[in-house]
Amino acid sequence: MRAVALVVGGLLVIGGAVLVVSADHQRADALAEAKAAVAETRRQLDAAKDSNHRLAEQLTTLRSLIAEQDRRLADTTGLLQ
């Protein structure tokens, strides 16, 4: 009777240990997944910032061009006074 109890107890201990190890793997996987998502999002943010910087420079160039065009359009050289 005691032997049976030892066997059952041993099996329960082994089963519990398996469950604990499995849960630990799941937690570790979920953490790794979250960290990968953070890395990917950080890459996207850097790319978006680079893109915005280029666009801002392009807009500044265009606005300078328009200011120069407005100056030429307002020029009255050669016109009647």
């Binding site: 201990v13 630990d24 407005d70 359009l73």
Partner: protein
């Protein structure tokens, strides 16, 4: 046996404690990572919205720049037409009234200066100025043809040219002789007098007086116009005793005094009585 179970229980308790701590640490770290991910995602969304806004602004600015470039591309043609009109207006000076043409050109010019988007507006203004130039040149040609055809037995001018004639004509108009005929001629006193008046109601001038300064030219035309008015009352004038006593019967002296009362004194002085008498001739009154 009991001791073994107790040891096993103690080991188990330590293991369970370690496992629980590790699980809690993993959960905490994951929660922090998720929070960081949320913050990063919000930043990415914000950056994307800024990208969209910048792209919209660039599209609008590019459109503005393209439109302005198109307007600028047709501006030189307009300026060229304005230059042509300026030449035409200069050539018409003293010959035809160009104030309306000039006003139209200035209006078209204002439209062009204000235009930023549509090159067709500038093109239309260019066509308008071109038409104005053609109209001014046409009016001047008509005026010249009329003047050339109007002379008594010859053209209105020869060596003084249309511009010289226009200057003398403007002086005669200025002193009140707008309706009096004017012709270039070298026949006044055999060419010795710079200008003379004809009893048929017109004035002749020698070509070189077109180069006289404005005040001298105005005086000369006022003097000749005075003779025209003398001719209109010639009978009464020559029989007037006052004419003889005040001016010695000299029509040139009287003409000078008549010019004085019109505001063109020349070099001859007239006293108040002579001026008062001379002023009557301008209105046909011989006292």
């Amino acid at each position: 046996m009991r001791r073994a179970v107790a040891v096993a229980a103690a080991v188990a308790a330590l293991l369970v404690s370690g496992v629980v701590d590790r699980a809690a640490a993993l959960d905490d770290e994951r929660a922090e990572t998720i929070a960081e991910l949320r913050a990063l995602t919000a930043s990415v969304d914000s950056a994307q919205r800024r990208t969209d806004r910048l792209e919209g602004l660039i599209e609008s600015a590019q459109k503005d720049a393209d439109e302005r470039e198109a307007v600028l591309a047709v501006r030189p043609a307009f300026v060229d037409e304005i230059a042509a009109l300026r030449v035409a207006l200069s050539g018409a000076d003293g010959k035809v009234d160009t104030s309306a043409h000039r006003a139209s050109a200035l209006s078209a010019q204002q439209t062009v200066l204000a235009e930023r988007r549509d090159p067709a507006v500038v093109t239309r203004a260019t066509a308008t100025v071109h038409a104005l130039t053609a109209k001014v040149n046409g009016d001047v040609a008509t005026w010249q043809a009329a003047q050339q055809a109007a002379g008594p037995g010859g053209p209105a001018w020869s060596s003084s040219g249309p511009d010289g004639y226009a200057r003398v004509r403007a002086a005669l108009d200025r002193v009140g002789g707008g309706g009096v005929g004017l012709y270039e001629s070298a026949s006044c006193a055999g060419g010795n007098a710079p200008a003379c008046a004809n009893s048929n109601g017109y004035i002749k001038y020698r070509a070189d007086i077109a180069d006289w300064n404005a005040s001298r030219l105005n005086w000369a035309m006022a003097h000749e116009l005075a003779h025209i008015h003398q001719f209109r009352v010639w009978g009464a004038l020559t029989s007037s005793s006052a004419y003889g006593s005040l001016f010695g019967g000299d029509p040139e002296f009287l003409a000078n005094c008549m010019a004085v009362v019109r505001g063109f004194p020349g070099s001859v002085g007239c006293n108040a009585e002579q001026q008062a008498w001379a002023s009557g001739i301008w209105v046909g009154a011989v006292r």
